[in-house]
């Protein structure tokens, strides 16, 4: 059992569990149906139900297949191409993703421009460039140019937050 395709097995189980949860835990109250429906296939729940049931079936099959195929010896050879989905080399991905999430949280209070400059700077530095003056310059210039383009050419009123009235 050492060579079970863990990736597919976990994926299958997770998707299967999620689909079951949506099917029985969320769909009944989150999809509203009208009082009278001429036939079943026309119901708003018909389509999501079909999709969810298929998802349950497919993902369960994937999990079982992963177990079954994992036992076969020839897959041990295939393991050369198999890589762990996540390993320690991903350590910078998590802070980068966190930075994006933080950016989203900052949009409401600070508008788009300031958080965008901060995220840009953060991402440049995190990618390993420690040329501070250049990084700061690029961040501010890029965001300002984009702001000007969207605001004056594309006529999109990009929220400025605290900078309102200054730009």
């Amino acid at each position: 059992m050492k060579t079970v395709n863990k990736r597919d097995f976990v994926l299958g189980l997770v998707v299967c569990a999620l689909a079951l949860f949506v099917l029985f835990g969320i769909l009944p109250w989150a999809v509203k149906t009208p009082k009278v429906i001429p036939n079943l296939a026309l119901s708003p729940t018909f389509w999501p139900r079909i999709i969810l049931v298929s998802l349950v079936g497919l993902s369960a099959f994937l999990a079982i297949q992963a177990l079954y195929e994992g036992i076969k010896p020839r897959d041990a050879v295939q393991d050369e191409s198999y890589e762990e989905p996540f390993d320690l080399s991903d350590f910078r991905v998590i802070p980068t993703a966190l930075l994006m999430v933080l950016f989203c949280a900052a949009l409401k209070p600070f508008g788009v421009v300031l958080p965008a400059i901060a995220m840009l700077l953060g991402m440049i530095v995190m990618h390993g460039r420690k040329e501070w003056p250049k990084a700061i310059g690029v961040s501010i210039a890029t965001v300002l140019i984009l702001y000007m383009f969207f605001r004056y050419v594309a006529k999109v009123p990009v929220p400025l937050g605290p900078l309102n009235g200054l730009l």
Binding site: V31, W47, V101, V112, L120, H127, A154, V156
Partner: protein
């Protein structure tokens, strides 16, 4: 006729018309090249300027923006994996792998040539076949559309990569998320959780950018991403005439698919690109190379995508029916000038129609020239150091996603799907089936339910005309071929030791 033509020439031959057309294409290419800014938005933004222009000039400007925008979407799709338009999402599949191999220039070139050729074919069809194709349009109703979309969905098998099962799971998730929002038929809420942003459903531009571009950016922060193959300077690579000839069959096929699908109201560029791509793949001897940087894949996708650009005007001009949002805006431009597209326009303003046709027929040439210039401008993007490129693309995506609806919500959606997309990438779940299902899913469901309403619940409506039979046959044929190929592939795999292959996108 001759008299009309000479009148038309007088009407067209005006420096402002030529400037409008060329300028429109230029604006379109640039706007289309910004992820999130679609050609629809570009056309809508240009509309008020046409209020004060003469009708021919104004409409040519809009058409230029539209055509430029459709092509422009392929540039970021190839260079940074951030398709500028939904239709360009198919160009990502092979365009981006080519760019990673240091052949961005070659991919961009072939995309341009395929686009211009398809545009030309489409324009000529518009001019020569407007009457015949308009007839075809009237025989497409919800049942025909349903079978057509159903057939288009078979492409999911082609873009699933090494595992059909994972591809189908991905597609299932896409279909499910597409049901979020107000139910079209009954107006009830589905998965909206009382949130007014969710009422309208998830917008697909943020989803598109989220699933394609952001995982690539995040991966750039992983050590293996950073040490992996990075694009060499692409300025050296060019598409040759031999490349064009190699792809020609797919380009021609894609153009024709685009012409037909473009003429049907409510179908548009995305399904056309999908069908063209999967047809090219089905027929290519290099099938295995599709999705890993096959030039023909880029050509087929772009040909299908641009093949609609002329024929989409057919229902508008012949019947006064806007087939998509773009032609709806162009209809607005006609009406602002007191013109009503439809059969009457051909009788009353034939000189104007001819003048438009003259403008449309030279637009492909303008697109070639301007597109070439744009490639020169944009190809340097690939040589920007990754440390700066990734963050800048990210911010660009943020602005683009915001511009779709002027809503922060779309940015949240983009980031959320970006992180999901990264997880999918690492779990080897291909994201292309997800997107295709997300784009086609609502069309499939709507047409299905509309058909059942029309027939009062009887399923026989799905076999009511020869068109539905054609699409059913095509669907069955492609499923059979797919299964056979899959089984054959399995037996070969069993016979041969599998070569380890670097593949991350599926």
């Amino acid at each position: 006729m001759i008299e009309n033509l000479s009148d038309a020439l007088v009407l067209f031959l005006n420096i402002y018309n030529i400037i409008a057309l060329a300028g429109g294409i230029g604006i379109g290419v640039i706007v289309g090249a910004i992820p999130g800014m679609t050609s629809t938005m570009a056309v809508a933004l240009t509309l008020p300027f046409t209020f004060t222009l003469p009708p021919v000039t104004g409409i040519l400007l809009l058409l230029g923006v539209y055509k430029g925008g459709v092509y422009g979407g392929s540039i970021p799709a190839i260079l940074v994996k951030a398709p500028g338009t939904p239709a360009a999402s198919c160009s990502v599949l092979d365009g981006y792998p080519l760019a990673q191999k240091g052949q961005a220039g070659r991919a961009l070139d072939i995309a341009l040539y395929a686009s211009c050729f398809a545009d030309l074919v489409s324009n000529l069809s518009l001019i020569l076949l407007v009457g015949y194709l308009a007839q075809l349009v009237t025989s497409f109703g919800p049942p025909e559309n349903f079978t057509l979309i159903f057939f288009s969905l078979t492409i999911i098998a082609s873009v699933s990569g090494d595992s059909l099962l994972r591809g189908f799971i991905s597609a299932g998730a896409g279909l499910l998320l597409a049901t979020v929002g107000l139910d079209l038929i009954y107006g009830t809420d589905r998965f909206t959780f009382g949130n007014s942003d969710l009422l309208g459903g998830l917008a697909f531009i943020p989803l598109l950018i989220g699933l394609f571009a952001i995982p690539e950016i995040l991966n750039g922060y992983a050590k293996r991403g950073a040490t992996g193959k990075v694009a060499a300077d692409p300025s050296g690579s060019r598409a040759t005439f031999a490349d064009f000839r190699y792809c020609f069959r797919s380009i021609l096929r894609g153009s024709l698919i685009g012409v037909v699908l473009g003429a049907i109201p409510g179908i548009g560029g995305a399904p056309s690109a999908f069908v063209s791509y999967s047809e090219a793949m089905r027929r290519s001897p290099n099938r295995k190379n599709f999705g890993k940087g096959e030039l023909e894949g880029v050509a087929a996708a772009e040909a299908g995508n641009n093949g609609v650009a002329g024929s989409t005007m057919i229902p508008l001009l012949a019947l006064g029916i806007p087939g998509d949002v773009i032609t709806a805006v162009i209809l607005g431009a006609f009406m602002v000038h007191g013109l009503r597209p439809g059969p009457m326009l051909f009788e009353q303003n034939i000189d104007l129609i001819y003048a438009l046709f003259i403008g449309i027929s030279i637009s492909s040439l303008f697109l070639l020239i301007i597109g070439k210039a744009a490639i020169h401008m944009f190809r340097h993007i690939a040589s920007i150091p990754r440390s700066y490129l990734y963050p800048v693309v990210m911010v660009l995506c943020v602005f683009g996603a915001y511009a779709v609806n002027n809503s922060f919500f779309d940015i949240y959606v983009m980031v959320a799907f970006g992180i999901l997309g990264f997880l999918m990438m690492r779990m080897h779940v291909p994201s292309a089936p997800f997107l295709i299902a997300f784009i086609l899913g609502p069309m499939l469901e709507d047409n299905f339910r509309q058909s059942l309403l029309m027939s009062q619940g009887s399923l026989t409506i799905f076999a009511r005309s020869w068109i539905t039979w054609i699409f059913w046959s095509l669907t069955i044929l492609s499923v059979v071929l797919m299964v056979r190929r899959h089984l054959a592939g399995k037996s070969i795999e069993k016979a041969l030791p599998v070569l380890p292959e670097e593949k991350r996108d599926g």
